[in-house]
Symmetry: C2
């Protein structure tokens, strides 16, 4: 199973999750909380988005996971594979391109 590039950038969940995990191993619940805090509430990944996303990313070889028991609770820690890092680079570049493009359009003069 291979990844396709989002032509017009929707894959924000994938991008930010990869970015977080590139810094350190984390588990799902932690990712959700971190994202909210880091983005200052601008980004909130619901569990119906996050968990499926993690699973498909792992299936695509972008992430690896390992379960860990902590206080009788199971956490599943994810880390980025080399392939995931490449993907992160591409998505980041793509995001920059697109977001700058949008900003240019938005910034175009209204009148005069």
């Amino acid at each position: 199973m291979t990844e396709r590039d989002p032509t017009l950038m929707s894959g924000i969940p994938e991008l930010v999750v990869l970015r977080l995990l590139a810094q350190q191993e984390m588990y799902g619940y932690e990712i959700a909380r971190s994202l909210k805090v880091l983005s200052q509430d601008a980004l909130t990944l619901g569990e119906g988005v996050l968990y499926p996303a993690l699973h498909t990313m792992e299936a695509r070889g972008l992430l690896r996971s390992r379960p860990k028991q902590v206080d009788g609770r199971t956490r599943i820690y994810y880390q980025v594979t080399p392939r995931g890092r490449k993907r992160l680079e591409r998505l980041t570049a793509s995001w920059q391109r697109v977001s700058e493009g949008v900003d240019r359009v938005l910034g175009a003069p209204s009148h005069e």
Copy 2:
């Protein structure tokens, strides 16, 4: 038929089209070309995206259209309705929020 807010922002086509049309009446083909130029090739709306988008936006009362004959060719000019302008405001705010959020996450320290 009413609009729903994109929870995590995908509706870039809708946003930029509204923005262009808020400046001046334009027809489809023109919108596509303008977008490419303005965004410096970062944004390219294929016709399979653009035309359906225009139609649904009109159906939702965000746009109004009128056909015009020019040199034996039919152009369909679109303009933004008041409702469309409100939508544009919301989408713009939402875009700013989200894109800043993403940038904050991307900008978070890698190491140290």
